[in-house]
Amino acid sequence: MAEIKLPENKLNQLKEVAKSFNNDGGELINVLHKAQEIFGYLPAEVQEVVAKELNVSVAHVYGVVSFYSFFTMTPKGKHPISICLGTACYVRGAEKVLDEFRKLLKIQVGETTPDGKFSLSGLRCVGACGLAPVVTIGEKVYGRVAPDGVKEILAEYKD
């Protein structure tokens, strides 16, 4: 018998969510969205609970989680950085901007800095193509970012 440990309040929240979707396996993706909101990411334990609550296999849950790029099994940084890699941003130099972030933060796409401050991800077109290349940090959107402006942007998040 294996045991899964999770904090009580979050676990109860998750169970409530599952219940609000009638514990219906067809609502898996909706439940995972909510679960990721509650826990910040979807560790194996959370997926086990979701599987149990929705009465589907945990392999199925993982199959779904690993399919969709929106779901993550690693905690995001305090300031999640996303670089738009849509075509409009690409032709306006997004790749160089991404390289600069990688260089300065010393992490790859999909990773989080050891201090948990920043995480880096690519994303497909936020639709602010007029501002290309576009970078989002948390809720904030930076437009027309140049590689040499990256340092300055990161400096805003000193603390």
């Binding site: 690409y90 306006r92 077109c125 639709g127 290309a132």
Partner: protein, 597 residues
């Protein structure tokens, strides 16, 4: 209720909000209050105006003044000068790039002159969070007409005659699609709106949902009436928080007004809509994959037939259309199919929304009649190529489309012409490229996208696209062979011929179209190891011009890999075998003696 003499419309699309349009609304309101004008002028946050290049946009009515790139700091001046004194703030007006004159009325701007806005009719005009403004613009009148004055057959007949084709990419006749779902007998049917827009560089669906959500809700209800469905589902990208929020508000208001729910407008038709969230998988734009995703599964497509119209969501007949398609429908009902069919070309009726982006002056969202030429779009609406560079190609149809060249500029845009030219309409991304873009690298960029977004179910797409990408990678590194070029073509054709779904079947298009249209560039990469655009880093050669080199040794001292040799006061040389193309030597050379080839 205050009677406003002037309206200030502030663009509330994602792009403009990213540039503080929320703060602009606040500042405008504050400035109005300070001057006691709060009852004279009303500030409205609308959907996207389309002219994203110059955002944030503030439009003052009734004199139609179009202010561009407004900041919160400009608001006081707009109120003090324009609203209070009636004087336009010239420095915020659009400047015509041709004659450097200020243009105040957007109708006189090249960007808007050729546009006809049907799907975008309310974007940038109404407050999307206020159903009353939608109703005032004949909103839900089409639904009312359909429910109380028409039969489903009449509606279908109208739609079929209108010639409307699906705006999501394939271009299947919308009326016929509805008819297929109608014909199937079932106890439950579903209406689905595909709002999982995932083409990199396309954002028209999001703009419609942000700017005019009710038009989609209304059209879905009309579909429900025609096909016999009582439930609607909108499958929307989770990455579109603003659109989701506006949809939620719209749904709530529509229910409050009784325009969704039981017995709509006193008829015996009941209909309601739920939201379903995508989770970041491009393939979910394919309708069977989308349906599986809504059922809580991996978004893998399945072989058609059966089509969703027969067996879709939960195995029930399901009609799937995309956002832009739905947005056209209420207008067609109200204005009639003759009106709609009078716009466009013989086989492609109406208008199409494009997201114009890339190396172009006027980036933005445009809606033009089918049949408009690429030249009109790029040069008249788009204002030409940025920084006076040379036009090279325009990519349409996103990862499923192809790159068209100067010889296609006068091709009227419609479904069939684009396919004949080796591209496709797709959802409407239009990316303009200039002389600085390497077409091999562009093909590689799209393949990288496809490789990342392939669901992995069928072997041609899972492995074939990976191999295509690897061959392109090899070519851009200067290691390509003529055999690679042959393999590239054969593989592309086989993938097109054998892949399971639309994503796989169209994924080689960027390769095939660039092979066809830019064969010399591929040849140069392979035989001369040369990238004419200077994009493929591995092919750059740093060369010291012996006549210009004075032998100062600065370059040699700064080369991190000691690739530069030469005696003092004599011309130096770079060993290409060792050079890592870092460019440090160019920076250090005071005599401009080092060139990149």
């Amino acid at each position: 209720m205050a009677k406003y003499n002037q309206h200030l419309l502030v663009c509330g699309g994602t792009g403009c909000r990213a540039s503080q349009s929320d703060a602009i609304v606040e500042s405008l309101n504050r400035a109005l209050t300070e001057r006691g004008l709060e009852n004279e002028a009303k500030v409205v946050m609308t959907g996207c105006f389309g002219f994203c290049e110059k955002g944030p946009i503030v439009k003052v009515l009734p004199d139609n003044t179009f202010y561009t790139q407004v900041t919160p700091a400009d608001c006081d001046e707009i109120v003090a000068e324009h609203i209070f004194k009636g004087r336009k703030v010239n420095r915020l007006l659009y400047t015509d790039p041709e004659n450097q004159e200020h243009v105040s009325d957007s109708k006189h701007m090249g960007f808007y002159r050729k546009q006809i806005r049907i799907a975008l009719r309310n974007c940038g005009f109404i407050d999307p969070e206020n159903i009353e403004e939608y109703i005032a613009r004949d909103g839900y009148a089409a639904l009312g007409k359909v429910l109380l004055e028409m039969t489903p057959e009449q509606v279908l007949d109208d739609l079929i005659k209108s010639g409307l084709r699906g705006r999501g990419g394939g271009g299947f006749p919308t009326g016929l699609k509805w008819q297929l779902t109608r014909k199937v007998q079932a106890d439950q049917k579903y209406v689905v709106c595909n709002a999982d827009e995932g083409d990199p560089g396309a954002f028209m669906d999001r703009s419609i949902l942000e700017g005019d959500p009710h038009s989609v809700l209304e059209a879905m209800a009309i579909n429900g009436f025609c096909t016999g469905a009582t439930k609607g589902l909108i499958y929307i990208r989770a990455e579109y928080p603003l659109a989701i929020n506006r949809l939620k508000i719209a749904l709530k208001q529509a229910r409050e007004f009784g325009l969704l729910g039981e017995n709509i407008l006193g008829s015996d038709f009941s209909f309601d809509i739920e939201l379903r969230y995508g989770a970041g998988a491009f393939v979910c734009g394919e309708e069977t994959a989308l349906i599986h995703s809504m059922e809580g599964m991996r978004g893998e497509p399945t072989f058609k037939p059966p089509f969703p119209s027969e067996s879709g969501y939960m195995g029930k007949p399901t009609n799937v259309n995309n956002v832009e398609t739905y947005a056209n429908i209420p207008v067609i009902i109200l204005k009639g199919h003759e009106w709609f069919a009078s716009i466009g070309t013989e086989k492609s009726k109406g208008t199409k929304v494009f997201a114009l982006a890339g190396k172009i002056n006027n980036v933005g969202l445009i809606e033009v009649p089918m049949g408009t030429t690429l030249r009109e779009v790029i040069y008249e609406i788009g204002g030409g190529i940025k920084d006076g560079k040379q036009f090279k190609a325009v990519q349409t149809g996103g990862p499923s489309g192809g790159c068209l060249t100067a010889k296609h500029l006068d091709t009227p845009i419609d479904y069939d012409n684009l396919i004949a030219a080796g591209s496709m309409m797709g959802s409407g991304g239009m990316i303009v490229m200039d002389e600085d873009d390497c077409m091999v690298a562009i093909a590689k960029f799209y393949l990288e996208f496809t490789v990342e977004e392939s669901c992995g179910k069928c072997s041609p797409c899972r492995i074939g696209n990976k191999r295509l990408h690897e061959i392109l990678e090899k070519i851009t590194k200067g290691e390509g062979t003529m055999e690679d070029l042959e393999n590239l073509r054969n593989l592309s054709q086989v993938i097109k011929d054998t892949a399971l779904c639309g994503l796989g079947q169209t994924s080689p298009n960027p390769v095939l179209s660039t092979l066809d249209n830019f064969w010399e560039e591929y040849l140069e990469h392979v035989t001369e190891k040369k990238c004419r655009a200077g994009v493929c880093k591995h092919m750059l050669r740093y060369v010291i011009e012996p006549d210009a080199c004075v032998g100062c040794t600065a370059c040699a001292r700064n080369c991190p890999v000691n690739a530069i040799s030469g005696e003092r006061k004599k011309a130096h040389e770079i060993n290409q075998e060792i050079c890592i193309k870092c460019g440090a030597c160019v920076e250090k050379c005071k005599f401009n003696a080092i060139f990149v080839r």
